[in-house]
């Protein structure tokens, strides 16, 4: 017990050091990188946070959601209203954005998560459209004109620190009792309930945590662009986030990280192609899916691969000895 406690303290300290280092290094990068590149990096971070959330819902728990942008918009508007109308500090505003997004996810999760597969996808799509229409008609969101005057408070160090925090949280979650239950639901729902897993509870948990990430991402987005309108969060935005998860490899955290980098950077890298840009982007997506049908990191067990790489020379040695 004592050993476990000291282990925990060491790990907690290590975690804080990593987080501090992230903030410090990204601050340095922030100072030396040209603004254009920095903005791309910022959006990579924001997309990564949202994609990690969707990865938990779709990749880990196996619930196909194509309305992730709805939760992003809820987070964006909630935080914008909080910081502009109620003068709440920015960081607290991000948290409020995430919290409200996850509350909404819990409320709509109860009826919709009874559905599976394609039916759930359609339900989430419908929900996303409803949210968009509501934001277009509400007075507090300034309707279709858009919400103006948000402070551009999002900085690269903040985004990076939150992204690293999200990665840690997702890795921890996946290697816990809750994460295993979520994986089990993806694999076989009937068998999961037969071993005592409350499938509704864990689906809603995954949905709430995933939507929290989307809300945080939306809040960061709103405070980057300083202006948001309902059309920012349409169906295409949901598809963008989903493609990051699918291209990276459903259920793979390293895959989601790579997917977020590749898919956010690609349209910018391809900018010299001007008119052909989005066409080449589309071809890139198709080519990746042909050569890696399960995504870039799909089916790769990173831990096992690393272990094998380390073990390999040793195995060879013993082999020679025999």
């Amino acid at each position: 017990m004592k050993k476990l406690l000291s282990n925990w303290i060491t790990q907690a300290l290590l975690f804080l050091i990593v987080l501090g280092l992230t903030a410090y290094v990204s601050q340095i990068i922030n100072n030396i990188t040209p603004p254009y590149v920095l903005t791309i990096c910022l959006f990579i971070g924001i997309n990564l946070i949202m994609a990690l959330g969707l990865n938990l819902i779709t990749g880990v728990t196996g619930q196909l959601s194509i309305g992730h942008a709805a939760f992003m918009s809820i987070g964006a508007y909630a935080s914008a209203i909080a910081t502009v109308n109620y003068h709440i500090p920015f960081l607290l505003g991000i948290f409020i954005g995430g919290l409200i997004a996850s509350l909404v996810a819990i409320i709509i999760g109860f009826p919709t998560l009874r559905l599976t597969g394609d039916y759930l996808a359609i339900a989430t799509l419908g929900f996303a459209e409803i949210v968009r229409v509501v934001f277009t008609n509400l007075k507090i969101t300034n309707g279709a004109v858009g919400f103006l005057g948000i402070e551009g408070a999002t900085t690269f160090p903040i985004v990076m620190t939150i992204a690293v925090l999200t990665i840690f949280a997702m890795v921890w979650l996946e290697n816990s009792r809750n994460g295993r239950a979520m994986l089990a639901i993806r694999e076989d729902e009937v068998a999961s309930s037969a071993v005592g897993i409350n499938t509704t509870l864990y689906k809603i948990q995954a949905f709430a945590i995933g939507s929290f990430c989307a809300g945080v991402g939306g809040a960061l987005f709103a405070h980057t662009t300083t202006f948001i309108q309902p059309t920012d969060f349409g169906f295409l935005k949901s598809v963008d986030i989903l493609s990051i998860v699918v291209l990276g490899g459903l259920g793979s955290i390293p895959g989601t990280i790579i997917g977020a980098i590749v898919l956010t950077a690609a349209p910018e890298v391809l900018r010299p192609l001007s008119n052909y840009r989005m066409m080449v982007y589309g071809i890139l997506l198709i080519v990746i899916m042909i050569f890696r049908p399960y995504g870039l990191m799909g089916g790769v067990n990173l831990r096992q691969a690393v272990r094998r790489a380390i073990m390999w020379p040793k195995k060879k040695q013993t082999g020679r000895g025999e």
Binding site: M1, L4, L5, N7, W8, Q11, A169, W172, L173, S176, R177, N178, G179, R180, A181, L183, A184, E187, D188, V190, A191, S192, S193, A194, V195, G196, I197, N198, T199, Q205, I209, Q304
Partner: protein, 260 residues
């Protein structure tokens, strides 16, 4: 006193009565087999017990508590676990993870613990790992623990399903055709395992088609035909029961195979 009691249980799917006023008691510590021709309603009985189906009429009680209106996962919590006729493993996960998930209902850690990774959660994880490896050793699968479940052979997959159902230390284990698709040697090993599981104090209720296995290991047999129970008794009694021979065993060819 029966551990599991089915009292006048009936279920109808539209016009079809799959199980018809079934009365059955499973006694603590016994090996009871449910047999019957294809489509007799055997698997439906298991689905009724585990709450996947709700009986149209009648009641099921376990350990003196009624099971009506209790969800499947809570029934598993109470100590009823099962395997499936068509294997239902978490195929993209490792063998060890499959078994760990089997012990889900015995764990306590919630969301807070998974994010904080407190010592109490670490200890629970270590205990869980030990327990899971023990269950795998019991079913002779410990060497395969890192393997993905889908890469196991058919017989191994069946055994893994049993390991997953056992790790939570249930009071009763429901086995739905555990020998299906196994070769003769594997069946002998399976029989031995079922006996050993019973000897640890777990009641066994199985549905099986393999008569040799059923006659060998069960202490009591119930026979189902068109959803109705037509006989119940020791293997010897059932073997010589006229209704069983007529309805289930049918032709003389089948009869002679049983008598051998």
């Amino acid at each position: 006193m029966s551990l599991l009691t089915l009292d006048n249980v009936t279920i109808r799917f539209g016009g079809l009565t799959a199980v018809d006023t079934l009365n059955l008691g499973v006694k603590q510590g016994e090996i009871l087999a449910l047999i019957g021709p294809n489509g007799a309603g055997k698997s439906t009985v298991f689905n009724l017990i585990t709450g996947i189906y709700k009986p149209t009429e009648g009641a099921i009680s376990f350990d003196g508590k009624p099971l009506s209106g209790i969800t499947t996962h809570k029934i598993a919590d109470m100590g009823i676990t099962r395997t499936f006729q068509t294997i239902r493993l978490f195929s993209e996960l490792s063998v060890l993870d499959n078994v760990k998930i089997g012990a889900h209902s015995r764990g306590k850690a919630g969301l807070f613990q998974s994010f904080m990774r407190l010592p109490s959660m670490k200890r629970e994880e270590t205990e869980l790992e030990e327990k899971s490896i023990k269950a795998l050793e019991f079913l002779d699968l410990a060497a395969k623990r890192e393997e993905m479940a889908k890469n196991l052979s058919y017989g191994e997959q069946r055994r893994l399903e049993i390991a997953r159902a056992l790790v939570s230390k249930p009071k009763i284990l429901l086995l739905d055709e555990p020998a299906a698709g196994m070769n003769p040697q594997e069946k002998v090993v399976l029989m031995e395992m079922i006996r050993r599981i019973r000897d640890t104090g777990i009641t066994i209720f199985l549905v099986e088609h393999d008569m040799k296995l059923v006659m060998n290991i069960s202490e009591r047999i119930a026979v189902l035909d068109y959803g109705k129970k037509i006989a119940e008794g020791t293997p010897l009694e059932v073997r010589s029961n006229k209704a069983v021979i007529e309805a289930y065993l049918g032709s003389g060819q089948f009869k002679s195979r049983i008598r051998r």
